[in-house]
Symmetry: C6
Subunit: 75 residues, 6 copies
């Protein structure tokens, strides 16, 4: 509708907020590598690499801090 | 019940909050590698690698910041 | 106009804030490597490297925390 | 007494808080590698590796942020 | 005048704050390697290394969080 | 006097706070490697390694966030 891929940092509940954090982490990769084909190819490799997976989880954690703060931690 | 794996960021005490942070860190890995089989195989390897373990502890620390803030540090 | 590359941390909406975070991440690289030619050459390489892309996404996430806080999370 | 390894994030003074942060960092490793024997063996190796030591110090720093905030920075 | 290399965390505008964050990042390196000659030699190498540049940008991002908060985000 | 190596997170000015952050970063290494001799030997090596120096600067930046917040950014 609006043409934005991110309308808001507000999420209905913690799990929706988590999903947004995962999406932000992927958009962070896309900012440097816009090709869906290349990202798909690389993902097949790093999804089998423990250190890459831990690093990915780290990025999600940082983005989740932002989303959780934006939602006042769903308190 | 609700179908959510994360109901809330609220935890009864610091240790329950810590356990949630550990769970979030694992869900961050699962977001990229959904296969239980692959994650189990990789875990056997990185659980013997000091740098991977330190990196894992780092991710837990970041998620624990979020959970602790959400719980107003159990003050 | 003003000669600044960053006028303000205020952004109209989350997506504009995200774009500013991406810009800050690039300016962080430029601080050490001012040559457009060298950065362009390196980018072609790391855009094909999964770990570099994850690390880039991490930097964007940190800068986005700053921009989002500056904008009071667009609440 | 309570069966918890972490009773509280409150610490009497900055140094006690720092010690708690070190403990949290170790518990983060233990979450992935519960074997005392394996962790002891790995520690002997990474305690001689500069990059591992810097990474460990990083994790302590992140956990100390949490503990210090929980204690209102002992102001 | 005062003999301090950092007088204050206050900066006139976001860009001056960014420059301070870059300076802090360099002072962090200098804390471990005080020799201008060695740092200059190393910089020539890592300025051509994509992963080092991303890591440098990460440090600037962390320091900029501090400076931006100190300045109340120039709101 | 008190037997503590860290009396307080309060520092008279930003530069004293920075020095405390450097000290905390070193104490984080010492938590894992208590031997002065080993740390001295390793430091001679990593002080010549660009990536180690950047990682060290990163740890100082994280600790400085804590110290600066504790001092209300010396505002």
């Amino acid at each position: 509708m609006s043409g934005f891929w991110m309308e808001s940092l507000l999420a209905e509940n913690p799990e929706a907020g988590w999903n947004l954090a995962v999406k932000l982490s992927r958009m962070g990769v896309k900012a440097t590598q816009p090709s869906d084909e290349v990202r798909g190819r690389l993902r097949a490799i790093y999804a089998e690499d423990a250190d890459s997976l831990i690093a990915s989880s780290h990025v999600v954690a940082v983005n989740f801090q932002t989303v959780a703060a934006a939602n006042n931690y769903w308190r």
